[in-house]
Protein backbone atom coordinates (compact mmCIF):
# COMPACT_ATOMS: atom_id res chain seq x y z
CA UNK A 1 0.00 0.00 0.00
CA UNK A 2 3.02 2.29 -0.32
CA UNK A 3 2.72 3.25 3.31
CA UNK A 4 -0.78 4.73 3.27
CA UNK A 5 -4.30 3.35 3.40
CA UNK A 6 -7.12 3.97 0.94
CA UNK A 7 -8.88 6.01 3.63
CA UNK A 8 -5.80 8.18 4.07
CA UNK A 9 -5.56 8.66 0.32
CA UNK A 10 -9.23 9.65 0.10
CA UNK A 11 -8.91 12.12 2.96
CA UNK A 12 -5.84 13.73 1.38
CA UNK A 13 -7.50 13.92 -2.05
CA UNK A 14 -10.60 15.47 -0.50
CA UNK A 15 -8.60 17.98 1.52
CA UNK A 16 -6.93 19.29 -1.65
CA UNK A 17 -10.30 20.35 -3.04
CA UNK A 18 -10.77 22.87 -0.23
CA UNK A 19 -9.57 26.44 -0.73
CA UNK A 20 -8.64 28.77 2.08
CA UNK A 21 -11.04 31.48 3.21
CA UNK A 22 -14.10 29.41 2.39
CA UNK A 23 -16.77 27.60 4.40
CA UNK A 24 -17.41 23.87 4.45
CA UNK A 25 -20.26 21.99 6.07
CA UNK A 26 -19.07 18.58 7.19
CA UNK A 27 -20.24 15.53 9.03
CA UNK A 28 -18.12 13.38 11.27
CA UNK A 29 -15.43 10.99 10.05
CA UNK A 30 -13.43 11.33 6.83
CA UNK A 31 -14.94 14.66 5.64
CA UNK A 32 -14.18 16.27 8.97
CA UNK A 33 -10.65 14.86 8.83
CA UNK A 34 -10.22 16.27 5.31
CA UNK A 35 -11.30 19.73 6.45
CA UNK A 36 -9.03 19.61 9.50
CA UNK A 37 -6.11 18.50 7.31
CA UNK A 38 -6.68 21.35 4.88
CA UNK A 39 -6.87 23.82 7.78
CA UNK A 40 -3.53 22.68 9.13
CA UNK A 41 -1.71 22.64 5.80
CA UNK A 42 -2.90 25.48 3.58
CA UNK A 43 -6.33 26.69 4.62
CA UNK A 44 -6.05 28.22 8.10
CA UNK A 45 -9.09 30.35 7.31
CA UNK A 46 -11.25 27.46 6.16
CA UNK A 47 -14.35 27.66 8.36
CA UNK A 48 -15.86 24.33 9.35
CA UNK A 49 -19.57 24.17 10.07
CA UNK A 50 -21.84 21.40 11.33
CA UNK A 51 -25.54 21.24 10.49
CA UNK A 52 -26.58 20.99 14.16
CA UNK A 53 -25.18 24.47 14.83
CA UNK A 54 -21.41 24.38 15.35
CA UNK A 55 -19.71 27.19 13.41
CA UNK A 56 -15.93 27.66 13.21
CA UNK A 57 -14.78 25.52 16.15
CA UNK A 58 -11.18 24.88 17.07
CA UNK A 59 -11.67 21.12 16.98
CA UNK A 60 -9.81 19.55 19.89
CA UNK A 61 -10.39 16.01 18.60
CA UNK A 62 -12.58 14.29 16.01
CA UNK A 63 -16.28 14.72 16.84
CA UNK A 64 -18.33 11.54 17.24
CA UNK A 65 -21.63 13.22 16.42
CA UNK A 66 -22.49 16.17 14.16
CA UNK A 67 -23.96 17.74 17.28
CA UNK A 68 -21.54 16.80 20.04
CA UNK A 69 -19.75 19.41 22.11
CA UNK A 70 -16.54 19.12 20.08
CA UNK A 71 -18.36 20.63 17.11
CA UNK A 72 -18.59 23.98 18.89
CA UNK A 73 -15.48 23.82 21.05
CA UNK A 74 -14.05 27.35 21.17
CA UNK A 75 -16.19 28.11 18.14
CA UNK A 76 -16.96 31.38 16.44
CA UNK A 77 -20.57 30.61 17.22
CA UNK A 78 -22.64 27.89 18.86
CA UNK A 79 -25.74 28.39 16.76
CA UNK A 80 -28.77 26.40 15.69
CA UNK A 81 -29.68 24.18 12.79
CA UNK A 82 -31.74 26.91 11.15
CA UNK A 83 -28.81 29.34 11.51
CA UNK A 84 -26.59 26.96 9.52
CA UNK A 85 -29.24 25.93 6.98
CA UNK A 86 -30.26 29.55 6.41
CA UNK A 87 -26.62 30.50 5.92
CA UNK A 88 -26.49 27.77 3.27
CA UNK A 89 -29.77 28.94 1.74
CA UNK A 90 -28.54 32.49 1.34
CA UNK A 91 -25.37 31.35 -0.36
CA UNK A 92 -22.79 31.39 2.42
CA UNK A 93 -21.68 27.74 2.29
CA UNK A 94 -19.05 26.91 -0.30
CA UNK A 95 -18.51 23.19 0.15
CA UNK A 96 -20.25 20.25 1.68
CA UNK A 97 -19.38 16.58 1.94
CA UNK A 98 -22.00 13.87 1.67
CA UNK A 99 -21.98 10.09 1.86
CA UNK A 100 -23.98 7.87 -0.47
CA UNK A 101 -25.84 4.60 -0.15
CA UNK A 102 -26.43 4.76 -3.90
CA UNK A 103 -25.27 7.41 -6.37
CA UNK A 104 -26.14 7.74 -10.05
CA UNK A 105 -24.35 9.26 -13.05
CA UNK A 106 -25.77 12.73 -12.28
CA UNK A 107 -24.62 12.66 -8.69
CA UNK A 108 -28.10 12.07 -7.29
CA UNK A 109 -27.93 10.24 -3.98
CA UNK A 110 -30.08 7.64 -2.23
CA UNK A 111 -29.77 7.40 1.53
CA UNK A 112 -33.41 6.47 2.21
CA UNK A 113 -34.16 2.88 1.28
CA UNK A 114 -33.54 -0.14 -0.92
CA UNK A 115 -36.56 -1.73 -2.53
CA UNK A 116 -39.42 -0.91 -4.85
CA UNK A 117 -42.26 -0.36 -2.37
CA UNK A 118 -41.95 2.76 -0.27
CA UNK A 119 -44.24 1.49 2.45
CA UNK A 120 -42.38 -1.83 2.77
CA UNK A 121 -38.73 -1.20 1.89
CA UNK A 122 -36.29 -4.08 1.74
CA UNK A 123 -33.72 -2.03 3.65
CA UNK A 124 -34.48 1.19 5.47
CA UNK A 125 -31.61 3.68 5.68
CA UNK A 126 -31.63 6.76 7.90
CA UNK A 127 -33.09 9.14 5.29
CA UNK A 128 -32.25 12.56 3.98
CA UNK A 129 -30.88 13.95 7.25
CA UNK A 130 -29.18 17.22 6.43
CA UNK A 131 -27.86 15.83 3.14
CA UNK A 132 -30.80 16.99 1.06
CA UNK A 133 -30.53 20.52 2.50
CA UNK A 134 -26.79 20.73 2.00
CA UNK A 135 -26.85 19.12 -1.45
CA UNK A 136 -29.59 21.56 -2.46
CA UNK A 137 -28.04 24.74 -1.07
CA UNK A 138 -24.23 24.57 -0.92
CA UNK A 139 -22.24 25.76 -3.91
CA UNK A 140 -20.14 22.62 -4.34
CA UNK A 141 -21.08 19.15 -3.14
CA UNK A 142 -18.39 16.54 -2.67
CA UNK A 143 -19.08 12.88 -2.06
CA UNK A 144 -16.71 10.44 -0.37
CA UNK A 145 -17.63 6.80 -0.82
CA UNK A 146 -16.28 3.36 -1.57
CA UNK A 147 -16.46 2.50 -5.26
CA UNK A 148 -18.55 -0.53 -6.17
CA UNK A 149 -21.45 -1.48 -8.43
CA UNK A 150 -24.00 -1.63 -5.63
CA UNK A 151 -23.36 2.06 -4.94
CA UNK A 152 -22.70 3.45 -8.40
CA UNK A 153 -26.02 2.54 -10.02
CA UNK A 154 -27.85 3.35 -13.22
CA UNK A 155 -31.09 3.98 -11.36
CA UNK A 156 -31.57 4.89 -7.71
CA UNK A 157 -34.21 3.09 -5.68
CA UNK A 158 -35.04 6.48 -4.15
CA UNK A 159 -33.76 9.95 -5.03
CA UNK A 160 -33.04 11.37 -1.57
CA UNK A 161 -30.66 14.24 -2.34
CA UNK A 162 -30.43 16.12 -5.61
CA UNK A 163 -27.36 15.90 -7.79
CA UNK A 164 -27.90 17.25 -11.29
CA UNK A 165 -31.26 15.39 -11.34
CA UNK A 166 -31.86 14.53 -15.03
CA UNK A 167 -29.01 16.61 -16.42
CA UNK A 168 -28.12 20.11 -17.47
CA UNK A 169 -30.57 22.77 -16.27
CA UNK A 170 -32.69 20.31 -14.32
CA UNK A 171 -31.69 21.66 -10.90
CA UNK A 172 -32.63 25.19 -11.86
CA UNK A 173 -35.89 23.98 -13.43
CA UNK A 174 -36.75 22.24 -10.16
CA UNK A 175 -36.23 25.50 -8.25
CA UNK A 176 -32.82 24.75 -6.74
CA UNK A 177 -30.41 27.70 -6.53
CA UNK A 178 -28.51 28.31 -9.79
CA UNK A 179 -24.83 27.49 -9.84
CA UNK A 180 -24.98 24.85 -7.12
CA UNK A 181 -24.53 21.12 -7.46
CA UNK A 182 -22.23 18.10 -7.47
CA UNK A 183 -18.55 18.91 -7.75
CA UNK A 184 -16.37 15.90 -6.94
CA UNK A 185 -16.73 12.26 -5.98
CA UNK A 186 -13.75 10.83 -4.16
CA UNK A 187 -13.62 7.04 -4.00
CA UNK A 188 -11.07 4.39 -3.15
CA UNK A 189 -10.36 4.06 -6.90
CA UNK A 190 -10.42 7.54 -8.37
CA UNK A 191 -11.49 11.16 -8.24
CA UNK A 192 -14.50 12.01 -10.40
CA UNK A 193 -15.91 15.31 -11.56
CA UNK A 194 -18.79 16.12 -13.91
CA UNK A 195 -18.77 16.78 -17.63
CA UNK A 196 -20.06 20.38 -17.88
CA UNK A 197 -21.95 19.62 -21.11
CA UNK A 198 -23.86 16.57 -19.89
CA UNK A 199 -23.60 16.90 -16.09
CA UNK A 200 -22.69 13.20 -16.01
CA UNK A 201 -19.92 11.82 -13.88
CA UNK A 202 -16.43 11.80 -15.40
CA UNK A 203 -13.24 10.33 -14.01
CA UNK A 204 -10.64 13.04 -13.54
CA UNK A 205 -7.78 11.10 -11.97
CA UNK A 206 -7.06 7.47 -11.15
CA UNK A 207 -5.40 6.45 -7.94
CA UNK A 208 -2.01 4.75 -8.28
CA UNK A 209 -2.21 1.39 -10.06
CA UNK A 210 -5.97 1.67 -10.68
CA UNK A 211 -7.01 1.11 -14.30
CA UNK A 212 -9.80 2.58 -16.38
CA UNK A 213 -11.23 -0.90 -16.76
CA UNK A 214 -11.34 -1.48 -13.04
CA UNK A 215 -13.20 1.75 -12.42
CA UNK A 216 -15.74 0.99 -15.17
CA UNK A 217 -16.21 -2.57 -13.89
CA UNK A 218 -17.09 -1.24 -10.48
CA UNK A 219 -19.55 1.35 -11.84
CA UNK A 220 -23.13 0.55 -12.80
CA UNK A 221 -23.37 3.25 -15.48
CA UNK A 222 -21.25 4.43 -18.40
CA UNK A 223 -18.47 6.75 -17.33
CA UNK A 224 -16.43 9.19 -19.36
CA UNK A 225 -12.78 9.85 -18.66
CA UNK A 226 -11.04 13.20 -18.76
CA UNK A 227 -8.23 13.32 -21.34
CA UNK A 228 -5.43 13.29 -20.53
CA UNK A 229 -6.32 11.28 -17.46
CA UNK A 230 -4.10 12.15 -14.51
CA UNK A 231 -2.92 10.01 -11.66
CA UNK A 232 -4.20 11.14 -8.28
CA UNK A 233 -1.13 12.47 -6.47
CA UNK A 234 -0.47 10.13 -3.56
CA UNK A 235 -0.44 11.58 -0.06
CA UNK A 236 2.73 13.48 0.67
CA UNK A 237 4.82 12.68 3.70
CA UNK A 238 3.74 16.00 5.20
CA UNK A 239 0.06 15.30 4.62
CA UNK A 240 0.36 11.89 6.22
CA UNK A 241 2.31 13.22 9.18
CA UNK A 242 -0.25 15.93 9.94
CA UNK A 243 -3.18 13.60 9.34
CA UNK A 244 -1.79 10.92 11.65
CA UNK A 245 -0.23 13.05 14.34
CA UNK A 246 -2.46 16.12 14.52
CA UNK A 247 -5.80 15.46 12.85
CA UNK A 248 -6.57 11.92 13.97
CA UNK A 249 -3.99 10.82 16.56
CA UNK A 250 -6.45 8.36 18.09
CA UNK A 251 -7.09 6.88 14.61
CA UNK A 252 -10.87 7.21 14.92
CA UNK A 253 -11.18 7.71 11.19
CA UNK A 254 -8.02 6.39 9.56
CA UNK A 255 -8.37 3.19 11.57
CA UNK A 256 -6.04 1.05 13.63
CA UNK A 257 -3.07 -0.34 11.82
Amino acid sequence: MDGYSQTELMICAAARELEDGRTVVVGTGAPCAAAMLAQRLWAPNLIVMFEAGGLGPLLPTMPISVGDSRTFHRAIMAASMTEIMELCQRGGADYTFLGAGQIDAYGNINSTLIGADYSRPRVRFPGAGGANDLGSLCWRTLVMTLHDKRRFVEKLDFLTTPGFLTGKGAREAAGLPPGTGPYRVITDLCVLGYDPRTCRMRVESLHTRVTVARVQENTGFALSFLEPLAETPPPSAEELRVLRQEVDPYRYVIGRT
Binding site: S65, T82, P126, G127, A128, T160, L176
Partner: protein
Protein backbone atom coordinates in the same frame (compact mmCIF):
# COMPACT_ATOMS: atom_id res chain seq x y z
CA UNK B 1 -39.96 6.38 -7.09
CA UNK B 2 -43.29 7.70 -8.34
CA UNK B 3 -45.72 9.96 -6.52
CA UNK B 4 -46.99 10.02 -3.01
CA UNK B 5 -50.70 9.25 -3.18
CA UNK B 6 -51.24 11.32 -0.05
CA UNK B 7 -49.82 14.67 -1.17
CA UNK B 8 -51.17 17.47 0.99
CA UNK B 9 -51.96 15.12 3.88
CA UNK B 10 -49.71 15.17 6.92
CA UNK B 11 -49.32 13.24 10.18
CA UNK B 12 -49.59 16.61 11.88
CA UNK B 13 -51.31 19.13 9.64
CA UNK B 14 -50.77 22.88 9.76
CA UNK B 15 -53.52 24.70 11.66
CA UNK B 16 -52.40 28.15 12.84
CA UNK B 17 -55.89 29.19 13.89
CA UNK B 18 -56.26 26.03 15.93
CA UNK B 19 -52.89 26.65 17.57
CA UNK B 20 -53.91 30.25 18.29
CA UNK B 21 -57.08 29.10 20.03
CA UNK B 22 -55.10 26.53 22.00
CA UNK B 23 -52.45 29.01 23.09
CA UNK B 24 -55.07 31.59 23.97
CA UNK B 25 -56.42 29.20 26.58
CA UNK B 26 -53.02 28.00 27.82
CA UNK B 27 -52.29 29.49 31.27
CA UNK B 28 -49.58 32.13 31.44
CA UNK B 29 -49.30 32.47 35.21
CA UNK B 30 -45.90 32.36 36.81
CA UNK B 31 -46.63 29.22 38.81
CA UNK B 32 -44.30 26.46 39.92
CA UNK B 33 -44.38 23.51 37.53
CA UNK B 34 -41.78 21.26 39.10
CA UNK B 35 -42.79 17.62 39.11
CA UNK B 36 -41.42 14.11 38.61
CA UNK B 37 -40.70 12.51 35.25
CA UNK B 38 -43.40 9.95 35.99
CA UNK B 39 -46.03 12.58 36.71
CA UNK B 40 -45.03 14.80 33.77
CA UNK B 41 -45.28 11.96 31.24
CA UNK B 42 -48.51 10.68 32.79
CA UNK B 43 -50.09 14.11 32.48
CA UNK B 44 -48.78 15.36 29.15
CA UNK B 45 -48.08 12.37 26.89
CA UNK B 46 -51.11 10.34 25.82
CA UNK B 47 -51.56 7.40 23.49
CA UNK B 48 -51.86 8.67 19.94
CA UNK B 49 -50.12 12.00 20.59
CA UNK B 50 -47.63 13.46 18.15
CA UNK B 51 -44.30 13.73 19.99
CA UNK B 52 -41.05 15.58 19.33
CA UNK B 53 -37.76 15.64 21.18
CA UNK B 54 -35.16 18.35 21.55
CA UNK B 55 -31.44 18.06 20.98
CA UNK B 56 -29.71 16.18 18.22
CA UNK B 57 -29.73 12.40 18.28
CA UNK B 58 -27.29 11.71 21.09
CA UNK B 59 -26.77 15.27 22.22
CA UNK B 60 -28.86 16.97 24.88
CA UNK B 61 -31.74 14.54 24.29
CA UNK B 62 -34.35 13.97 27.03
CA UNK B 63 -33.45 10.36 27.83
CA UNK B 64 -34.95 10.29 31.34
CA UNK B 65 -38.28 11.47 29.91
CA UNK B 66 -38.11 9.01 27.02
CA UNK B 67 -37.48 6.08 29.37
CA UNK B 68 -40.58 7.14 31.24
CA UNK B 69 -42.63 7.18 28.02
CA UNK B 70 -41.48 3.61 27.39
CA UNK B 71 -42.00 2.56 31.01
CA UNK B 72 -45.56 3.87 30.91
CA UNK B 73 -46.04 1.91 27.66
CA UNK B 74 -47.40 4.73 25.53
CA UNK B 75 -48.68 3.49 22.18
CA UNK B 76 -49.51 4.84 18.70
CA UNK B 77 -47.41 7.95 19.04
CA UNK B 78 -46.47 10.06 16.04
CA UNK B 79 -42.89 11.27 16.09
CA UNK B 80 -40.76 13.95 14.47
CA UNK B 81 -37.63 12.14 13.31
CA UNK B 82 -35.40 15.20 13.25
CA UNK B 83 -31.97 13.59 13.53
CA UNK B 84 -33.54 11.13 15.88
CA UNK B 85 -30.92 8.54 16.76
CA UNK B 86 -30.81 7.19 20.30
CA UNK B 87 -34.12 8.93 21.06
CA UNK B 88 -35.84 7.17 18.16
CA UNK B 89 -34.12 3.91 19.14
CA UNK B 90 -35.61 4.11 22.65
CA UNK B 91 -39.13 4.88 21.42
CA UNK B 92 -39.07 2.09 18.84
CA UNK B 93 -37.66 -0.33 21.40
CA UNK B 94 -40.69 0.47 23.55
CA UNK B 95 -43.03 -0.05 20.57
CA UNK B 96 -44.40 3.43 21.20
CA UNK B 97 -44.56 4.69 17.58
CA UNK B 98 -46.82 4.03 14.66
CA UNK B 99 -46.00 7.00 12.40
CA UNK B 100 -42.94 9.13 11.89
CA UNK B 101 -41.93 12.19 9.92
CA UNK B 102 -38.48 11.02 8.91
CA UNK B 103 -35.47 13.19 8.34
CA UNK B 104 -32.95 10.89 9.99
CA UNK B 105 -33.94 7.72 11.85
CA UNK B 106 -32.80 4.13 12.48
CA UNK B 107 -29.11 5.14 12.51
CA UNK B 108 -26.84 6.40 15.26
CA UNK B 109 -24.59 8.38 12.90
CA UNK B 110 -21.23 6.65 12.43
CA UNK B 111 -21.98 4.16 15.20
CA UNK B 112 -24.21 2.07 12.95
CA UNK B 113 -27.88 1.19 12.43
CA UNK B 114 -30.44 0.10 15.03
CA UNK B 115 -31.76 -3.27 13.89
CA UNK B 116 -34.99 -2.90 15.86
CA UNK B 117 -35.68 0.51 14.39
CA UNK B 118 -34.91 -0.71 10.88
CA UNK B 119 -37.33 -3.62 11.23
CA UNK B 120 -40.06 -1.33 12.54
CA UNK B 121 -39.83 0.84 9.44
CA UNK B 122 -39.19 -1.98 6.97
CA UNK B 123 -42.21 -3.96 8.18
CA UNK B 124 -44.48 -0.95 7.81
CA UNK B 125 -45.27 -1.09 11.52
CA UNK B 126 -44.15 2.53 11.64
CA UNK B 127 -45.49 4.57 8.75
CA UNK B 128 -43.14 7.17 7.32
CA UNK B 129 -43.11 10.46 5.46
CA UNK B 130 -39.83 11.89 4.17
CA UNK B 131 -38.29 15.25 5.04
CA UNK B 132 -34.87 16.76 5.51
CA UNK B 133 -33.44 17.96 8.80
CA UNK B 134 -33.65 21.54 7.59
CA UNK B 135 -37.23 21.02 6.49
CA UNK B 136 -38.34 19.69 9.88
CA UNK B 137 -36.52 22.53 11.65
CA UNK B 138 -38.30 25.04 9.41
CA UNK B 139 -41.62 23.27 9.95
CA UNK B 140 -41.21 23.93 13.69
CA UNK B 141 -40.22 27.49 12.89
CA UNK B 142 -43.34 28.01 10.76
CA UNK B 143 -45.52 26.93 13.67
CA UNK B 144 -43.51 29.04 16.12
CA UNK B 145 -44.03 32.04 13.84
CA UNK B 146 -47.79 31.43 13.79
CA UNK B 147 -47.76 30.66 10.06
CA UNK B 148 -49.32 27.79 8.11
CA UNK B 149 -46.14 27.21 6.09
CA UNK B 150 -42.67 28.51 5.29
CA UNK B 151 -41.17 28.53 1.83
CA UNK B 152 -37.79 26.84 1.33
CA UNK B 153 -35.42 25.86 -1.44
CA UNK B 154 -34.81 22.29 -0.29
CA UNK B 155 -36.25 18.88 -1.20
CA UNK B 156 -37.20 20.18 -4.67
CA UNK B 157 -36.84 17.74 -7.52
CA UNK B 158 -36.44 14.65 -5.31
CA UNK B 159 -38.37 11.62 -4.09
CA UNK B 160 -37.90 13.10 -0.62
CA UNK B 161 -40.22 15.87 -1.78
CA UNK B 162 -42.69 13.48 -3.41
CA UNK B 163 -42.96 11.39 -0.24
CA UNK B 164 -43.24 14.35 2.09
CA UNK B 165 -46.68 15.27 0.86
CA UNK B 166 -45.50 18.86 0.30
CA UNK B 167 -46.67 21.14 -2.44
CA UNK B 168 -44.70 23.61 -4.50
CA UNK B 169 -45.57 27.28 -4.65
CA UNK B 170 -44.38 30.10 -6.88
CA UNK B 171 -42.99 33.35 -5.48
CA UNK B 172 -45.28 36.19 -6.58
CA UNK B 173 -42.35 38.58 -7.05
CA UNK B 174 -39.55 36.50 -8.55
CA UNK B 175 -41.40 33.56 -10.08
CA UNK B 176 -39.11 31.23 -8.15
CA UNK B 177 -40.32 27.72 -7.33
CA UNK B 178 -40.33 26.95 -3.63
CA UNK B 179 -41.27 24.06 -1.41
CA UNK B 180 -44.12 25.04 0.94
CA UNK B 181 -43.15 23.41 4.24
CA UNK B 182 -46.28 22.92 6.38
CA UNK B 183 -46.10 24.16 9.97
CA UNK B 184 -45.52 21.37 12.50
CA UNK B 185 -46.97 21.84 15.96
CA UNK B 186 -46.42 18.63 17.96
CA UNK B 187 -48.85 17.77 20.75
CA UNK B 188 -45.93 17.56 23.12
CA UNK B 189 -42.22 18.30 23.04
CA UNK B 190 -39.70 16.78 25.46
CA UNK B 191 -36.62 18.98 25.82
CA UNK B 192 -33.56 18.58 28.01
CA UNK B 193 -31.68 21.68 29.14
CA UNK B 194 -28.84 22.57 31.45
CA UNK B 195 -30.79 25.00 33.63
CA UNK B 196 -34.40 26.01 34.25
CA UNK B 197 -36.33 27.78 36.97
CA UNK B 198 -39.46 26.39 38.62
CA UNK B 199 -41.70 28.23 36.14
CA UNK B 200 -40.00 26.71 33.11
CA UNK B 201 -37.75 29.54 31.98
CA UNK B 202 -34.85 27.60 30.49
CA UNK B 203 -31.25 28.31 29.57
CA UNK B 204 -29.36 26.15 27.06
CA UNK B 205 -25.57 26.02 26.77
CA UNK B 206 -24.01 25.39 23.38
CA UNK B 207 -25.89 24.75 20.16
CA UNK B 208 -29.66 25.01 20.39
CA UNK B 209 -30.35 22.77 17.35
CA UNK B 210 -34.09 23.27 16.68
CA UNK B 211 -35.22 23.55 20.28
CA UNK B 212 -36.07 27.24 20.41
CA UNK B 213 -38.57 26.85 17.60
CA UNK B 214 -39.79 23.47 18.83
CA UNK B 215 -40.59 24.83 22.29
CA UNK B 216 -42.61 27.65 20.74
CA UNK B 217 -44.31 25.37 18.18
CA UNK B 218 -45.48 22.58 20.50
CA UNK B 219 -48.80 22.63 22.32
CA UNK B 220 -47.26 21.16 25.46
CA UNK B 221 -43.62 21.22 26.55
CA UNK B 222 -42.01 19.09 29.24
CA UNK B 223 -38.56 20.30 30.26
CA UNK B 224 -36.01 18.09 31.98
CA UNK B 225 -33.14 20.03 33.44
CA UNK B 226 -29.72 19.20 34.82
CA UNK B 227 -30.49 21.61 37.61
CA UNK B 228 -33.15 23.97 38.86
CA UNK B 229 -32.04 27.55 39.36
CA UNK B 230 -33.81 30.44 41.09
CA UNK B 231 -35.89 32.76 38.95
CA UNK B 232 -33.53 35.51 40.07
CA UNK B 233 -30.75 33.97 37.96
CA UNK B 234 -33.01 33.97 34.91
CA UNK B 235 -33.80 37.64 35.45
CA UNK B 236 -30.15 38.51 35.97
CA UNK B 237 -29.34 37.55 32.36
CA UNK B 238 -32.62 37.86 30.49
CA UNK B 239 -31.04 37.42 27.10
CA UNK B 240 -29.86 33.95 28.11
CA UNK B 241 -33.47 32.74 28.29
CA UNK B 242 -33.84 30.21 25.49
CA UNK B 243 -37.36 29.06 26.34
CA UNK B 244 -39.78 31.37 28.18
CA UNK B 245 -41.91 29.88 30.93
CA UNK B 246 -45.28 30.24 29.20
CA UNK B 247 -44.30 27.62 26.62
CA UNK B 248 -43.63 25.09 29.38
CA UNK B 249 -46.08 22.78 31.16
CA UNK B 250 -43.79 20.78 33.45
CA UNK B 251 -40.23 21.02 34.75
CA UNK B 252 -38.40 17.91 35.89
CA UNK B 253 -35.02 18.12 37.57
CA UNK B 254 -32.96 15.11 36.48
CA UNK B 255 -29.23 15.29 36.92
CA UNK B 256 -27.62 13.38 34.02
CA UNK B 257 -31.03 13.28 32.33
CA UNK B 258 -29.39 13.18 28.90
CA UNK B 259 -27.21 10.13 29.63
CA UNK B 260 -25.96 8.13 27.70
CA UNK B 261 -25.94 11.11 25.35
CA UNK B 262 -23.67 14.11 25.49
CA UNK B 263 -24.75 17.25 27.33
CA UNK B 264 -22.49 20.18 26.52
CA UNK B 265 -20.26 21.40 29.36
CA UNK B 266 -21.71 18.62 31.57
CA UNK B 267 -20.76 15.12 30.38
CA UNK B 268 -19.73 13.38 27.19
CA UNK B 269 -21.66 10.52 25.61
CA UNK B 270 -21.15 6.99 26.95
CA UNK B 271 -20.03 5.42 23.69
CA UNK B 272 -19.57 2.05 25.30
CA UNK B 273 -23.20 1.91 26.39
CA UNK B 274 -24.45 3.18 23.03
CA UNK B 275 -22.49 0.40 21.32
CA UNK B 276 -23.97 -2.08 23.77
CA UNK B 277 -27.49 -0.93 22.79
CA UNK B 278 -26.73 -1.48 19.09
CA UNK B 279 -25.09 -4.84 19.69
CA UNK B 280 -27.75 -6.33 21.93
CA UNK B 281 -30.47 -5.55 19.39
CA UNK B 282 -29.04 -8.32 17.19
CA UNK B 283 -30.63 -10.88 19.54
CA UNK B 284 -34.34 -10.22 20.26
CA UNK B 285 -34.37 -12.23 23.49
CA UNK B 286 -31.28 -10.56 24.80
CA UNK B 287 -32.71 -7.18 23.84
CA UNK B 288 -35.93 -7.86 25.74
CA UNK B 289 -33.88 -8.76 28.80
CA UNK B 290 -31.79 -5.63 28.30
CA UNK B 291 -34.89 -3.43 28.21
CA UNK B 292 -36.40 -5.21 31.21
CA UNK B 293 -33.24 -4.65 33.14
CA UNK B 294 -32.60 -1.04 32.16
CA UNK B 295 -36.06 0.49 31.72
CA UNK B 296 -39.00 -1.67 32.77
CA UNK B 297 -37.23 -3.17 35.76
CA UNK B 298 -36.16 0.11 37.36
CA UNK B 299 -38.41 2.59 39.13
CA UNK B 300 -36.74 5.69 37.76
CA UNK B 301 -33.78 7.13 35.91
CA UNK B 302 -31.52 7.28 38.94
CA UNK B 303 -31.75 3.49 39.20
CA UNK B 304 -30.76 3.22 35.52
CA UNK B 305 -27.74 5.44 36.15
CA UNK B 306 -26.77 3.26 39.12
CA UNK B 307 -26.87 0.19 36.86
CA UNK B 308 -24.55 1.94 34.44
CA UNK B 309 -21.86 2.55 37.02
CA UNK B 310 -23.35 5.50 38.83
CA UNK B 311 -21.17 8.35 39.95
CA UNK B 312 -17.93 6.58 39.04
CA UNK B 313 -18.85 6.24 35.39
CA UNK B 314 -20.47 9.68 35.28
CA UNK B 315 -17.34 11.25 36.71
CA UNK B 316 -15.37 9.71 33.82
CA UNK B 317 -17.82 11.14 31.30
CA UNK B 318 -17.61 14.54 32.98
CA UNK B 319 -13.84 14.41 32.74
CA UNK B 320 -14.07 13.42 29.09
CA UNK B 321 -16.39 16.35 28.39
CA UNK B 322 -13.88 18.69 30.04
CA UNK B 323 -11.25 17.24 27.68
CA UNK B 324 -9.10 15.99 30.49
CA UNK B 325 -10.41 12.45 30.63
CA UNK B 326 -9.32 9.37 28.69
CA UNK B 327 -10.11 9.35 24.97
CA UNK B 328 -12.10 6.35 23.93
CA UNK B 329 -11.94 4.75 20.52
CA UNK B 330 -15.05 5.54 18.53
Amino acid sequence: MGENPRAGEFFCAPDPDGLRDFLRRKPRDLIAKVTSAREAIARFVHDGDYLATGGFGTNRIPVALLHEVVRQRRRHLGFAGHTATHDCQILVAGDCLDRCDVAYVVGLEARGLSLTARRAFESGRVQAREWSNGALAWRYKAAAMGLPFLPARVMLGTDTFAFSGCWEITCPYTGMKLAALPALSPDVALIHVQRADEYGNAQIDGITVADLDLARAAKHVVISTERLIPNELIRREPQRTAIPYFCVDAVVEVRYGGYPGNVAYEYFSDEEHLREWLAVEQDPDAFRAFLDRHIFGVPDFQAYLALRGGETRLAQLRAEEMLDGPREGA
